[in-house]
């Protein structure tokens, strides 16, 4: 028998107007974790959907499974071979229970009149949930879960199935640090059982942690497959993007102007306490800290998603009383949330319509009808500044890759022309090349006089973009640094130890929650 579990050869896929894959190959050994990497739109998810039988490849494609030539022309073919997929955009049923969501698909090959065995479903689901340490009621419908929990249910489904190969397409993009840790443990366990894993992620640190081999795609073409030992981060980036990408620490000295935004003694029980800061014209304020330090909660309170218990918020000297997110938008505050995957894109509408959606009532021509020309122009602008690929604003949003869909969400918020904009992990799920574009964009917004707050766990990103850095720890501001004096070390110091508390937790144990790499 061959050492390969799976070989895919001559894989091409043409969508109308787009050649998503061009003669790609992929070889997966038994029991290995294989990273599949490439920029947004490189074709990773498309390749996976071909493996899953969801897309039909162009003629000439060949599959070998366990050394034998195999046919995968529909999802059932893949399932029957023991291939499970964790989809980037999830493949759950909001109306069905957690248990049924985990179980579904195992019986797809059976006769339609087969009686459903509810007891088996419960048992299998609970076992999978336990393996992931998940404490949720398996009888509630999935729509009542948070995105992170839904992601875990999707993972549980793959575990419940007796798989030989599990594909994980950006499984960690909406998980918390604790959940990511659990996933790593599960991956270890699966590996020991001889199960192969294909792992897709834009977090290079993560990839180096879990993978044995890499396959790199660029613009739908196969670049190569490499052993992890022979690979370094810079080399990987070079292969992926075709050029070197390094972050320079932000050197610019900005002229800060008047105070745009002021937060005063803001507190919310159990989330954060006594948060005060100012945001000046021209600067980018970075907020960092370990996951769970209260950063996101703070942003959400500012944006009116939750209500703070005490404290005030001022915009240009005017006290704001924001009761909900609609109120925040009206006042000129925008918040681009971390979990963007499912946040309000109309997938069967064009990129143009999605971007103009929040301001459609303002784009009127002299007959008081929607001004299509202006709409298109607006979209084209954002497609260019955010490097949305392919640069075809007439395409349906659903036809774009996951990362490019995220860029549309960002564009949508920018189109509201906010006075203050909070980016929460703006480059989560976005490839390394486009990251620098988004960094430039934040800088440009700040230069235009918009208040920019960036929340990020990636220290190089924080250092590259911010002018001033707030470090949060346990719901408080543990330190404030100007970029000139900031280093990864002193940020970490504040994030872990804070100002006073002398007890130093071990650096290594927690550092995986804050990425220090690119």
């Amino acid at each position: 028998m061959s050492e390969y579990l799976l070989q895919m050869k001559n894989i091409s896929k043409t969508f109308p107007g787009v050649k998503a894959l061009d003669n790609v190959e992929l070889e997966i050994k038994k029991g290995e974790v294989h990273a599949l990497i490439g920029e947004n739109g490189a074709g990773k998810s498309t390749l996976i959907k071909i493996l899953a039988g969801v897309y039909t490849p162009d003629p000439g494609a060949r599959f070998f499974f366990e050394g034998k030539e195999a046919e995968i022309s529909k999802p059932l073919d893949a399932t029957m071979k023991g291939i499970s997929i964790i989809y980037q955009d999830l493949s759950l049923f909001p109306n069905l229970s957690v248990a049924e969501n985990i179980y579904i698909g195992r019986d797809s090959h059976k006769k339609p009149w087969t009686k459903v065995k509810w007891n088996d479903i419960k048992k299998i689901a609970n076992k999978a949930l336990k393996e992931l340490d998940m404490d949720i009621d398996a009888s509630i419908p999935v729509e009542q879960l948070s995105i992170a929990q839904q992601q875990m249910v999707e993972i549980a489904r793959a575990l419940a199935f007796d798989s030989k190969l599990i594909v994980m397409d950006e499984p960690t993009s909406s998980l918390s640090a604790g959940e990511v840790e659990k996933l790593y443990n599960v991956i270890d366990k699966l590996k020991k059982q001889g199960i192969s894993i294909i792992f897709i992620s834009h977090k290079l640190k993560e990839l180096f942690k879990v993978s044995d081999r890499f396959t790199v795609l660029r613009d739908g073409k196969f670049v190569g497959s490499y052993d992890a030992q022979d690979m370094t981060e810079p080399k990987l980036i070079q292969l992926m993007v075709g050029r070197n990408v390094t972050y320079e620490k932000n050197q610019a000295t900005v002229e800060v102007g008047e105070t745009i935004f002021k937060v005063n003694q803001l507190s919310k029980e159990g989330n954060f306490k006594d948060i005060s800061f100012e945001l000046r014209k021209g600067e980018v304020l970075g907020i960092t800290g370990l996951v769970g330090s209260g950063r996101t909660e703070l942003a959400q309170a500012i944006f009116g998603i939750s209500t703070p218990d005490a404290g005030t918020i001022e915009l240009y000297g005017k006290k704001l009383s924001i009761r909900n997110s609609a109120g925040a938008v009206k006042e000129g505050v925008a918040y681009i949330p971390e979990a963007r995957q499912t946040q309000g894109l109309v997938l069967e509408q064009s990129v143009i319509n999605n971007i103009s959606l929040p301001i459609i009532s303002k784009l009127k021509n002299k007959f008081r009808l929607t001004d299509r020309k202006q709409e298109v122009k607006l979209a084209e602008e954002y497609v260019k500044t955010l490097d949305i690929r392919p640069a075809l604003p007439h395409l349906d949003a659903g036809n774009l890759s996951g990362g490019n869909q995220q860029k549309i969400v960002i564009a949508k918020w920018l189109s509201t022309k906010p006075k203050v904009i909070i980016f929460d992990e703006p480059t989560n799920g976005i490839d390394i090349g486009a990251k620098t574009e988004i960094h430039k964009l934040m800088r440009k917004l700040a230069n235009e006089g918009i208040g920019v707050i960036m929340i990020s766990s990636e220290l190089p990103e924080i250092l590259a973009v911010s002018d001033r850095i707030l470090v949060m720890r346990h719901g408080r501001i543990a330190g404030e640094l100007n970029v000139a004096e900031a280093t990864q070390e002193n940020i970490m110091h504040y994030a872990l130890q804070g100002k006073s508390n002398g007890k130093a937790p071990t650096f290594v144990a927690e550092s995986n929650q804050m990425s220090q790499g690119v």
Binding site: A52, V54, K74, P75, L76, T79, I85, Y87, L90, S91, L92, F93, P94, N95, L96, E100, I104, G105, D107, S108, H109, K110, K111, P112, W113, T114, K115, V116, W118, S139, I140, P141, E143, Q144, S146, I147, A148, Q149, Q300, I305, S306, P337, A339
Partner: protein, 327 residues
């Protein structure tokens, strides 16, 4: 908290009870066993069709050709009756032929929807008109009375057990069968899965086309059964007897808590929905309200119920979305 549907079923039930209380003041006849049986028997056809329509709507589709299909089957069996012997075999033949014709009509709808991917509303509007046209052409709009019906059929139609008419048993059987399919078989779960998210359904290996075909064919099957019920109830075949009934059927399903966008719904809810509509109409007749006002009231109640449903569902979703970000 088990599910939105459970709450919803309960609130429909409460509305039914409330309506009964009010109507018992309006008319002393209302709250009698006989009147209730009459109401149920008189709505068996609508209920059978609504049960089938529940599956169609759960998958996110619609079938507006049901009343026409039922009429078509009724016309065919009505004409067939003159060739059938005066023996019990005729009943058996009837129960074989009527569903098969129904399934054929349903399957045509299903194939056009699933294979050729024409929206269901367009397909079934088309079949609705084709069938109505053909029926009119073949019958000249003429009424068939029971004179050439086989005797056993009339015995069947009048049969009662424990004081309850046979048609009520027929409905009960249909409802239990469909409930079982929906709740306990693979194909039933696939119906719910497709309605919940069709993209996910395809990814987990559910055969989308097959499920759609099943749903429309099953609707046709029940149209066949409904045709027998209609013929037995009226002891005649009236080519115009069911004109516009599809709207009442769809209304009953939606009133019963099935989401018009698909994904959620139940047979129990649908039966309550039918009951609600039926009692309302009965009450208005007993209260001597003019027919045109009856129509207006029925229409208004449907609009209100569906809007209420949509609004509360959206609220619930908004609340969930909020928790989502907060988590």
């Amino acid at each position: 908290m088990k599910s939105i549907i459970k709450q919803k079923e309960f609130s429909i039930f409460m509305i039914v009870v409330l309506l009964c209380v009010v109507l018992s003041f309006v008319s002393p006849v209302f709250l009698t066993f006989e009147n209730f049986l009459d109401i149920i028997e008189g709505n068996v056809v609508m209920a059978i069709l609504a049960v089938g329509m529940t599956l169609v709507i759960i998958t996110g589709d619609i079938d507006v050709s049901v009343a026409a299909a039922t009429t078509a089957v009724a016309v065919i069996i009505g004409n067939l009756f003159s060739f059938l012997p005066d023996s019990w075999i005729s009943i058996l033949i009837l129960f074989l032929i009527a569903p098969v014709i129904g399934i054929i009509i349903g399957a045509i709808n299903g194939l056009l929807v699933s294979k050729i991917k024409i929206p269901a509303i367009v397909v079934t509007l088309g079949t609705l008109n084709i069938i109505n046209g053909l029926v009119l052409y073949l019958t000249n709009g003429q009424y068939l009375n029971s004179s050439n019906f086989p005797k056993p059929f009339l015995t069947f139609a009048n049969f009662e057990f424990l004081g309850i008419p046979i048609l009520v048993y027929l409905l009960t059987a249909v409802a239990i069968l469909t409930w079982f399919i929906l709740k306990h078989t693979l194909i039933g779960r696939s119906v719910l899965a497709i309605g919940g998210k069709s993209q996910s359904a395809v990814r987990v290996g559910i055969n989308y086309n097959k499920v759609k075909l099943f749903v429309f064919a099953y609707m046709g099957f029940l149209a066949g059964i409904a045709a027998i019920a209609q013929t037995a109830y009226t002891k005649a075949v009236d080519p115009n007897g069911l004109l516009g009934v599809e709207m009442m059927v769809i209304a009953a399903v939606v009133l019963g808590g099935t989401n018009i966008q698909g994904g959620r719904g139940s047979i129990q809810g649908t039966l309550l929905g039918v009951l609600l509509l039926a009692i309302m109409q009965n009450g208005m007749i007993l209260a001597h309200i003019d027919t045109f006002w009856q129509k207006v009231v029925t229409g208004a109640i449907i609009v209100i119920a569906v809007s209420y449903d949509q609004i509360s569902y959206r609220r619930q979703q908004a609340k969930l979305a909020k928790i989502e970000v907060e988590a």
